[in-house]
């Protein structure tokens, strides 16, 4: 039964993926992409990875989808006449088809050729978990065993926002979405926002023991912000550039500080003292949640802002 379900999921993944790439107009493609993201969330649950499922739904489908749709909104103004990419006479089509099929064949071969053995690493994680300060293995991996990856990953996020800031500075024309002065929506928001904030806090708190954590919590926070943004609230982002930046960088800075603090002890980078591990991780997660939320939100809102006065090029 479950195999059938899996196969169904598999085929829907492939169909949605193909539709994403071929559906006309583009808007439909993006919709299929979001659907694909949701399907993926299901798949992740089937793969016993609820953390990823949450993240995929919130970030992969949610934030990415919103970003794409937002871009499409700008596209709308232009006459975007895309013809079908599939042209059987084009050599490019055939080369692409053959090489991607060959790739699939090779990967399949690799998959079948490789014996399935339980990885040693999982056991090691399990063994080291008690010393990690958290109970949930994924959080332990993310914020303790492989916290270095996460640190750099936050760096990637910051870079993305940084580039956004750079380019936003060039925007002389303000490109803001029309406000949605819908009283019903505003009423809904009044309910929804506290709820979402609560979900976010829960996810964060749960992260130490069960699926959830800073990313998911941050994503929910960002979603809240986007909703608010769409309904016309501009928060304080606009008023204080520097404060916004501080918020954006808070998580990264805290993480960095904690990482460096180990040096005082003569320990390697990112070493948490045993007894403080849990607390330190929580602090990091708190800061990260806030920052990730702000960053993800900014990814969406940044193009809608012109830069503040003092930084405008002369």
């Amino acid at each position: 039964m479950s195999v059938l379900l899996d196969l169904l999921l598999l085929s829907s993944l492939w169909v949605f993926a193909l539709l994403t790439l071929t559906a006309l107009p583009l808007f439909r493609g993006v919709v299929f992409f979001i659907l694909l993201g949701l399907m993926l969330a299901l798949v992740w649950i089937r793969l016993d990875a609820p953390d990823i499922a949450l993240a995929e739904a919130a970030i992969g489908a949610g934030i990415t989808g919103v970003l794409l749709l937002d871009t499409l909104g700008h596209l709308h103004h232009r006459a975007d006449q895309e013809s079908s990419p599939i042209r059987l006479k084009s050599s490019r089509f055939w080369v692409a088809l053959i090489s991607s099929l060959s790739l699939a064949g090779l990967l399949l071969w690799a998959l079948l050729d490789t014996p399935a053995t339980p990885t040693m690493l999982a056991e090691q994680v399990a063994r080291a978990l008690p010393n990690s300060g958290v109970d949930h293995p994924i959080t332990a991996v993310l914020l303790n065993f492989r916290s270095y990856d996460t640190l750099l990953e936050i760096g990637v996020l910051v870079v993305a926002i940084l580039v956004g800031l750079t380019l936003a500075d060039k925007d002389s024309a303000q490109l803001s979405l029309p406000k949605l002065p819908n009283p019903l929506l505003q009423a809904c928001l009044a309910l929804l926002v506290p709820l979402m904030l609560m979900v976010s806090s829960y996810l964060l708190w749960a992260g130490s023991k069960q699926p959830g954590g800073a990313f998911q919590a941050g994503a929910v926070l960002a979603a809240t912000g986007i909703l608010l943004h769409l309904s016309g609230f501009r928060l304080t982002l606009r008023t204080s550039e520097r404060l916004m930046r501080a918020g954006l960088l808070l998580g990264f800075s805290v993480f960095l500080l904690v990482a460096a603090s180990a040096l005082i002890d003569g320990q390697p980078l990112l070493t948490y003292p045993d007894h403080l591990a849990g607390i330190l991780i929580l602090i990091i997660e708190l800061a990260l949640t806030l920052s990730i939320g702000l960053i993800l939100l900014s990814l969406f809102t940044l193009p809608h802002f012109a830069l503040p006065e003092q930084e405008r090029p002369k």
């Binding site: 195999v3 899996d6 999921l9 598999l10 993944l13 492939w14 994403t20 790439l21 583009l26 993006v30 992409f33 694909l36 993926l40 798949v43 089937r46 793969l47 990875a49 953390d51 990823i52 992969g60 934030i63 990415t64 970003l67 794409l68 871009t71 700008h74 596209l75 232009r78 895309e82 990419p85 599939i86 042209r87 490019r92 692409a96 090489s99 991607s100 790739l103 699939a104 990967l107 998959l111 399935a116 053995t117 339980p118 990885t119 999982a122 994680v125 293995p137 991996v141 993310l142 492989r146 990856d149 996460t150 990637v156 870079v159 993305a160 580039v163 380019l167 990313f215 990814l299 940044l302």
Partner: protein, 101 residues
Amino acid sequence: MSSSAVIFSLAGIGLCAIGLFGFMLHTHLIRKLLAFNIMGSGVFLLLVGMAQRSGHTDPVPQALVLTGIVVAVSATALALYLIRRWLQLSGSTELPEDDRR
């Protein structure tokens, strides 16, 4: 042996191939970006799927995928900034030297 893991590894392979196909085929920048994301999802599936075929849950690849998703969304956002900016300046969703042979 976990059949789910094998099936979704397979699914991942398919997504990889489809993504690559789209990436090669399209000149429309947003489509290319979509293809990239599909490919990325395929790789994530393969990463977790392959590791979990023995039936045991492996937190490490899952953590890696979480990292990967964040990286992918950063990259997508960055790409969208650039594409939007390009659109604004040139009014085109394709790069100038691309042709569709």
